[in-house]
Amino acid sequence: MPAHPAGPAAVLSAAGLSKTFPGVRALDGVDFTVRAGEVHALIGENGAGKSTLIKVLTGVYRPDPPAAPGAGVLTYDGSEVEFATPLEAQHAGISTIYQEVDLVPLMSVARNLFLGWEPRGRLGLIDFRRMHREADAALRDLGVRVDVRRPLRELGVGVQQMVALARAVSVDARVVVMDEPTSSLEPREVVTLFGVIRMLRERGIAVIYVSHRLDELYEVCDTVTVLRDGRSVHTGPIAGLDRLRLVSLMLGRELGDVRDQGLTRFSGSHDTAAEPVLRAEELTVRHQLHGVSLTVRPGEVVGLGGLLGSGRSETAKAIAGALPPDSGRVVVAGVPVRTGSTPAAIRAGVSLLPEDRKAEGIVPGLSVRENIALAALPGLSRFGLVDEARIDRVVATFMKRLRIKASGPHQKVGELSGGNQQKVLLARWLAMNPKVLLLDEPTRGIDVGAKAEVQKLIDELADDGLGVLLISSDMEELIEGSDRVVVLKDGAVVEELAGDAVTEDRLLRAVAAMPADVPADVPADVPVDVPAVRTASGGDDD
């Protein structure tokens, strides 16, 4: 039952909403409206502004002050509102179910459900009988049967989410925001969740549904809003909207709109005849990766494509030893590497430039020099004493070679621009003489000039014989930078494009990955459309 514009009244709407962070305009005049009894999908790639929008709607962030009358206003239930805290929004009736369920895991189901509004009897003491009875009823109402006295953490994530939902519904929520609710659910649990969402819709509750899984959107949502670069680029009913069109809206690329090469600084193909320097075989991580295999040859840039949440970063982390796989092998230059150990991977010559540069990459309080020398320290010291002269030489070499702009080697890395931080990280790994570089979104959040430079560097590195695995949400970067592209979906490889097949058209189709859309001429050795249920069914690796 798709919601029609003329249907029920808008419960929550934003008009020309903007949100600026220092240096970044995360939301740029977004219009967004959700109606009673509507399940509204909110989608977009990383940095599109989804989470910022949700945070503004739920009172975590405050929007920029209205630039013009009527712009930048939040309207809830017919009147203008401003939520100072998430709690205020919640009291008003806007509840959020987070990806990592935000409840108290050590407390029982019933206590979680009723925290702060427990039924009280004589002497103001909590009436546990009534509380348990009512909790049980509230959950049964959602089709969940569970012992409400049990600590929440003993139950599955699915049940926990149901408890969060039941809490939201019990406190008379009128808008429920779900942030990737299915990301760690078993297939069965997903079915239950969808049942509940439909029930909420029937009760006239508005649901804002954020997910990267296109199939789910089509299954459960009525309307979709696509965000890109902080703007809302499309809003409309989801029924009848072509999947391919949806993906191209998200990525900002139109089919057949392939522009001339040369927008990026990639030079093109590299020599790819040699034996693979990196071979990942059947990497499997519960809920995240399902038998991912890929190879990278020396001097080759292999792109890892797919939407957000498709398992790109997880693949890189599993190869680099930062995410212990349940099964699978990593072979570097013909030698198997112990999985799940970062030092082992680094010794073998695998270096990872992590996606979250600030939290996992740089050590912000240390200088450029210390950051560059960090991983290579043992090699740059004698008997545990640091060889300052050698470090100076290495640092000078790389600062020059990578054109790192800092006031000097002693400037704190935390003070540098994003592009230069990224180059410092690259330098850190190049100082280790790696065989394989895993680059997870190397150009995200850095300005255009620096971006081109980093791209040029990647190219040079491949020319020097390194194997490069490139993860990027930037289609252009991926296509022009990569010699081959391995496409992931839901944690499994769905297609591998090589040579002339590396085109936007093919990539878009593969990413959208409707089974029918996958061309028949896929190379035979590529596992196409690995059935996700095979490993996702869980229970076997307990």
Binding site: A320, A322, T342, P343, A345, I346, R347, L352, P354, A359, E360, G361, I362, V363, P364, G365, L366, E370, A373, L374, A375, L377, P378, S381, G384, L385, V386, E388, R428
Partner: protein
């Protein structure tokens, strides 16, 4: 708009002032206290007085150096006071076998406690406060089990270690200075020092960069334990007595104060050796000033409590930015 600009500039200036205060406040404090004492305290400016102050501050300073390492790794070591007691007990017990043997055993005791704490933190994943708290209780008990009451130390070499000097500079002060230089050297010039700072600053990044996080953490607590044990030995030599009941009592607090007042943030990633030394001196001067002006010890304790809170409060402001 101009209003905002003015506000912004004022804020920036305040920030800078705050940062200067955080970085150099301790030196400023030492200077002010010195000047105040020179001006108002009779008999302050005398070689004898400086000697006494320096000898008194040496053990605290040595313990604080180890504490600075622990705090730099985003941890803390509450067991240092008990380690001092343990080392004085061991020293007394083994003095019969010769001073050097006794010294080595005493320091090894500290190393063992540090290793236990480090293992709990690095391998089991216990919070540093809790791990070292358990060792603090057990360590003091062990010290008392080994040596139930105060015992005089009559070894002449020990006595000369405690009261002797070179060209008027007491051995204790020389040793403390040497250890401060050594720790400064370790922090600045060794792989261990660099890795320690990286781990304290950003553990996820350190882990992804392939650093031996666990090994470094164990070593941090071993260093802290060893330094505390050395401080225990020196304090014993100065007092020419082993008193496991009271030696090192509240030492963890004095050491943490010296480190925090010296500008090492509790959030890790930074070790200020010079600041720590100055912090220890500051507390010593503060105590001395209050005592010399006939203010009772109660005031000293209250003053120290206030100084700690102020220092942590100031450090918090930095952490927020």
């Amino acid at each position: 708009m101009t209003d905002i600009d003015v506000g912004g500039r004022v804020r920036v200036d305040r920030d800078r002032l705050l940062r200067i205060l955080q970085d150099h406040g301790v030196h400023l404090g030492v200077a002010v206290l010195l000047l105040v004492n020179i001006a108002f305290t009779p008999h302050f400016v005398s070689a004898e007085n400086f000697r006494t102050q320096a000898v008194q501050v040496a053990p605290v300073m040595i313990v604080a150096l180890g504490m600075a390492l622990a705090i730099g790794s985003e941890g803390v070591d509450l067991s240092v006071g008990s380690v001092m007691a343990l080392s004085t007990s061991l020293l007394s017990l083994y003095l019969g076998y010769g001073m050097w043997i006794a010294l080595i055993v005493a320091v090894l005791g500290g190393v063992a406690v540090g290793m236990a704490g480090g293992a709990l933190v690095a391998f089991v994943g216990v919070q540093p406060i809790v791990a070292t708290l358990a060792l603090m209780v057990a360590g003091r008990g062990l010290a008392l089990v080994l040596l139930p009451q105060l015992k005089d130390v009559r070894d002449p070499t020990m006595a000369s270690l405690g009261s002797g000097d070179v060209l008027g500079v007491p051995y204790l002060v020389l040793i403390a200075a040497a250890l401060a230089l050594l720790v400064a050297f370790v922090v600045r010039r060794t792989t261990f020092g660099r890795q320690l700072l990286a781990i304290g600053d950003s553990r996820p990044a350190a882990r992804l960069a392939g650093l031996p996080v666990r090994r470094v953490l164990v070593l941090v607590y071993v260093c802290s334990g060893a330094l505390a044990a050395i401080a225990g030995v020196l304090a014993t030599a100065r007092l020419t007595a082993s008193d496991p009941t009271s030696l090192g009592h509240l030492m963890e607090l004095s050491a943490i104060t010296a480190v925090v007042v010296g500008g090492t943030p509790l959030s890790g990633g930074r070790v200020r050796v010079g600041g720590t030394v100055a912090g220890a001196v500051l507390i010593q001067l503060l105590t001395a000033t209050l005592i010399k002006h006939d203010l009772p010890p109660s005031w000293t304790q209250i003053a120290q409590a206030v100084v700690i809170i102020l220092a942590v409060y100031a450090a918090r402001e930095r952490g927020r930015r």
